[in-house]
Amino acid sequence: MSIFRRKSIFFIPIHLTGWALLTVAIMLAIYQFVVIERLSHSVSDTLINWFFRLIIIGAFYSMIGFAFSREE
Protein backbone atom coordinates (compact mmCIF):
# COMPACT_ATOMS: atom_id res chain seq x y z
CA MET A 1 0.00 0.00 0.00
CA SER A 2 1.51 3.33 -1.00
CA ILE A 3 0.01 6.51 0.35
CA PHE A 4 3.05 8.77 -0.20
CA ARG A 5 5.38 9.72 -3.03
CA ARG A 6 8.92 10.78 -2.27
CA LYS A 7 10.17 14.08 -3.64
CA SER A 8 13.70 14.86 -2.44
CA ILE A 9 13.55 14.56 1.36
CA PHE A 10 9.82 15.16 1.52
CA PHE A 11 7.02 12.62 1.39
CA ILE A 12 4.03 13.96 -0.52
CA PRO A 13 0.63 12.33 0.07
CA ILE A 14 -1.06 10.67 -2.90
CA HIS A 15 -3.90 9.07 -0.97
CA LEU A 16 -6.61 10.41 1.32
CA THR A 17 -4.99 8.71 4.34
CA GLY A 18 -1.74 10.47 3.53
CA TRP A 19 -3.46 13.85 3.36
CA ALA A 20 -5.16 13.10 6.68
CA LEU A 21 -1.76 12.32 8.24
CA LEU A 22 -0.24 15.49 6.81
CA THR A 23 -3.16 17.52 8.19
CA VAL A 24 -2.67 15.96 11.63
CA ALA A 25 1.06 16.78 11.48
CA ILE A 26 0.37 20.40 10.51
CA MET A 27 -2.27 20.74 13.24
CA LEU A 28 0.18 19.34 15.78
CA ALA A 29 2.86 21.78 14.63
CA ILE A 30 0.42 24.72 15.01
CA TYR A 31 -0.63 23.47 18.47
CA GLN A 32 3.03 23.20 19.51
CA PHE A 33 3.66 26.73 18.26
CA VAL A 34 0.77 28.08 20.37
CA VAL A 35 1.98 26.20 23.48
CA ILE A 36 5.59 27.39 23.05
CA GLU A 37 4.49 30.94 22.28
CA ARG A 38 2.57 31.05 25.59
CA LEU A 39 5.66 30.07 27.60
CA SER A 40 8.47 31.79 25.70
CA HIS A 41 9.97 35.20 26.38
CA SER A 42 11.10 36.28 22.93
CA VAL A 43 10.63 35.60 19.23
CA SER A 44 13.92 33.68 18.97
CA ASP A 45 12.97 31.61 22.03
CA THR A 46 9.71 30.65 20.31
CA LEU A 47 11.30 29.89 16.95
CA ILE A 48 14.21 27.83 18.30
CA ASN A 49 11.94 25.61 20.42
CA TRP A 50 9.28 25.38 17.76
CA PHE A 51 11.76 24.48 15.02
CA PHE A 52 13.11 21.67 17.19
CA ARG A 53 9.65 20.20 17.68
CA LEU A 54 8.88 20.72 14.01
CA ILE A 55 11.88 18.52 13.15
CA ILE A 56 10.62 15.80 15.50
CA ILE A 57 7.11 15.94 13.98
CA GLY A 58 8.73 15.83 10.52
CA ALA A 59 10.84 12.82 11.53
CA PHE A 60 7.79 10.84 12.68
CA TYR A 61 5.84 11.85 9.57
CA SER A 62 8.78 10.82 7.37
CA MET A 63 9.03 7.46 9.12
CA ILE A 64 5.40 6.78 8.20
CA GLY A 65 6.11 8.12 4.71
CA PHE A 66 9.12 5.82 4.37
CA ALA A 67 7.05 2.78 5.30
CA PHE A 68 4.12 3.61 3.01
CA SER A 69 5.71 5.14 -0.08
CA ARG A 70 6.57 3.88 -3.52
CA GLU A 71 9.64 4.62 -5.59
CA GLU A 72 9.19 5.82 -9.17
Binding site: R6, F52, A59, S62, M63, F66, S69, E71
Partner: protein, 155 residues
Protein backbone atom coordinates in the same frame (compact mmCIF):
# COMPACT_ATOMS: atom_id res chain seq x y z
CA UNK B 1 15.34 -23.24 -56.61
CA UNK B 2 18.50 -25.02 -55.70
CA UNK B 3 19.83 -21.89 -54.03
CA UNK B 4 16.68 -21.57 -51.94
CA UNK B 5 16.99 -25.16 -50.72
CA UNK B 6 20.63 -24.63 -49.84
CA UNK B 7 19.72 -21.52 -47.95
CA UNK B 8 16.97 -23.36 -46.06
CA UNK B 9 19.41 -26.13 -45.19
CA UNK B 10 21.87 -23.56 -43.93
CA UNK B 11 19.19 -21.95 -41.81
CA UNK B 12 18.19 -25.29 -40.32
CA UNK B 13 21.81 -26.09 -39.59
CA UNK B 14 22.35 -22.96 -37.55
CA UNK B 15 22.76 -23.73 -33.87
CA UNK B 16 20.47 -21.72 -31.71
CA UNK B 17 22.55 -19.51 -29.40
CA UNK B 18 21.97 -20.14 -25.72
CA UNK B 19 22.12 -17.06 -23.52
CA UNK B 20 24.72 -17.31 -20.80
CA UNK B 21 22.96 -17.01 -17.47
CA UNK B 22 26.19 -17.08 -15.49
CA UNK B 23 25.92 -13.41 -14.56
CA UNK B 24 22.60 -13.94 -12.79
CA UNK B 25 24.44 -15.84 -10.05
CA UNK B 26 26.26 -12.63 -9.20
CA UNK B 27 23.23 -10.40 -9.19
CA UNK B 28 23.45 -8.37 -6.01
CA UNK B 29 20.41 -6.48 -4.89
CA UNK B 30 20.54 -3.83 -2.19
CA UNK B 31 18.26 -4.52 0.77
CA UNK B 32 16.77 -1.01 0.87
CA UNK B 33 16.46 1.88 -1.56
CA UNK B 34 19.44 4.22 -1.09
CA UNK B 35 17.77 7.55 -1.90
CA UNK B 36 14.69 6.78 0.17
CA UNK B 37 16.84 5.78 3.15
CA UNK B 38 18.93 8.94 2.79
CA UNK B 39 15.82 11.13 2.78
CA UNK B 40 14.56 9.58 6.02
CA UNK B 41 18.08 9.66 7.47
CA UNK B 42 18.23 13.43 6.98
CA UNK B 43 15.07 13.86 9.09
CA UNK B 44 16.29 11.48 11.77
CA UNK B 45 19.67 13.11 12.32
CA UNK B 46 18.34 16.66 11.93
CA UNK B 47 17.17 16.92 15.58
CA UNK B 48 20.49 15.89 17.25
CA UNK B 49 22.41 18.00 14.74
CA UNK B 50 20.17 20.95 15.60
CA UNK B 51 21.08 20.50 19.29
CA UNK B 52 24.77 20.38 18.35
CA UNK B 53 24.42 23.48 16.17
CA UNK B 54 22.72 25.36 19.05
CA UNK B 55 25.55 24.33 21.41
CA UNK B 56 28.20 25.46 18.91
CA UNK B 57 26.43 28.82 18.47
CA UNK B 58 26.18 29.28 22.22
CA UNK B 59 29.93 28.71 22.58
CA UNK B 60 30.71 30.89 19.57
CA UNK B 61 28.77 33.87 20.96
CA UNK B 62 29.47 33.50 24.70
CA UNK B 63 33.05 32.14 24.48
CA UNK B 64 32.39 29.97 27.54
CA UNK B 65 32.95 26.24 28.02
CA UNK B 66 33.61 23.64 25.33
CA UNK B 67 31.39 21.76 22.89
CA UNK B 68 31.83 18.56 24.83
CA UNK B 69 30.93 19.99 28.27
CA UNK B 70 27.98 21.98 26.86
CA UNK B 71 26.69 18.88 25.09
CA UNK B 72 26.83 16.92 28.34
CA UNK B 73 25.10 19.75 30.23
CA UNK B 74 22.33 19.87 27.63
CA UNK B 75 21.78 16.12 27.91
CA UNK B 76 21.72 16.35 31.71
CA UNK B 77 19.10 19.14 31.51
CA UNK B 78 17.08 17.06 29.08
CA UNK B 79 17.16 14.17 31.57
CA UNK B 80 15.82 16.38 34.36
CA UNK B 81 13.00 18.00 32.34
CA UNK B 82 9.44 16.59 32.32
CA UNK B 83 9.31 14.16 29.38
CA UNK B 84 13.05 14.46 28.75
CA UNK B 85 13.73 10.95 30.02
CA UNK B 86 11.63 9.70 27.09
CA UNK B 87 12.34 11.98 24.14
CA UNK B 88 15.98 12.70 25.06
CA UNK B 89 17.24 9.15 24.41
CA UNK B 90 14.75 8.80 21.56
CA UNK B 91 16.20 11.77 19.67
CA UNK B 92 19.85 11.16 20.48
CA UNK B 93 19.91 7.37 20.52
CA UNK B 94 16.94 5.78 18.74
CA UNK B 95 16.74 8.18 15.76
CA UNK B 96 20.47 7.96 14.87
CA UNK B 97 20.39 4.16 15.30
CA UNK B 98 17.47 3.89 12.86
CA UNK B 99 19.24 6.25 10.43
CA UNK B 100 22.45 4.23 10.75
CA UNK B 101 20.79 0.85 10.15
CA UNK B 102 18.64 2.03 7.22
CA UNK B 103 21.54 3.71 5.43
CA UNK B 104 23.89 0.81 6.09
CA UNK B 105 21.41 -1.68 4.66
CA UNK B 106 20.92 0.50 1.59
CA UNK B 107 24.59 0.67 0.63
CA UNK B 108 25.89 -2.80 1.47
CA UNK B 109 25.22 -5.84 -0.63
CA UNK B 110 25.87 -9.46 0.27
CA UNK B 111 26.90 -12.24 -2.05
CA UNK B 112 27.29 -15.80 -0.84
CA UNK B 113 29.26 -18.29 -2.89
CA UNK B 114 27.94 -21.69 -1.91
CA UNK B 115 30.66 -23.67 -3.74
CA UNK B 116 33.60 -21.87 -2.17
CA UNK B 117 31.73 -21.07 1.05
CA UNK B 118 32.63 -17.42 1.18
CA UNK B 119 30.56 -14.35 1.87
CA UNK B 120 31.39 -11.20 -0.03
CA UNK B 121 30.21 -7.83 1.22
CA UNK B 122 30.37 -4.91 -1.16
CA UNK B 123 29.76 -1.28 -0.35
CA UNK B 124 28.19 1.07 -2.87
CA UNK B 125 29.74 4.50 -2.86
CA UNK B 126 26.61 6.54 -2.31
CA UNK B 127 28.05 9.64 -0.69
CA UNK B 128 24.76 10.94 0.71
CA UNK B 129 24.22 7.70 2.62
CA UNK B 130 27.85 7.56 3.74
CA UNK B 131 27.70 11.12 5.15
CA UNK B 132 24.51 10.25 7.08
CA UNK B 133 26.22 7.09 8.36
CA UNK B 134 29.21 9.09 9.59
CA UNK B 135 27.07 11.78 11.23
CA UNK B 136 24.87 9.24 13.00
CA UNK B 137 28.00 7.43 14.21
CA UNK B 138 29.33 10.73 15.57
CA UNK B 139 26.07 11.43 17.42
CA UNK B 140 25.94 7.89 18.82
CA UNK B 141 29.58 8.08 19.94
CA UNK B 142 28.91 11.36 21.74
CA UNK B 143 25.82 9.94 23.44
CA UNK B 144 27.62 6.74 24.44
CA UNK B 145 30.47 8.71 25.96
CA UNK B 146 27.89 10.72 27.94
CA UNK B 147 26.25 7.52 29.22
CA UNK B 148 29.60 6.04 30.30
CA UNK B 149 30.97 9.16 31.97
CA UNK B 150 27.65 9.97 33.67
CA UNK B 151 27.16 6.50 35.11
CA UNK B 152 30.69 5.76 36.29
CA UNK B 153 30.88 6.70 39.95
CA UNK B 154 34.07 6.52 41.95
CA UNK B 155 33.68 5.89 45.64
Amino acid sequence: MNQTEDFEKKLLGIIKPEPKVEHSRFLKLPILNAQKSASLGVWLIAAPLFILACICMKILFTHQGSVWISFFETLAKLDDSGWGWFYGPMIILVFPVIAFVLNLLSIIRFQYNREQKDLMVTVRLKWGNIIILLLSTLILAAFMSYIFTENIHTN
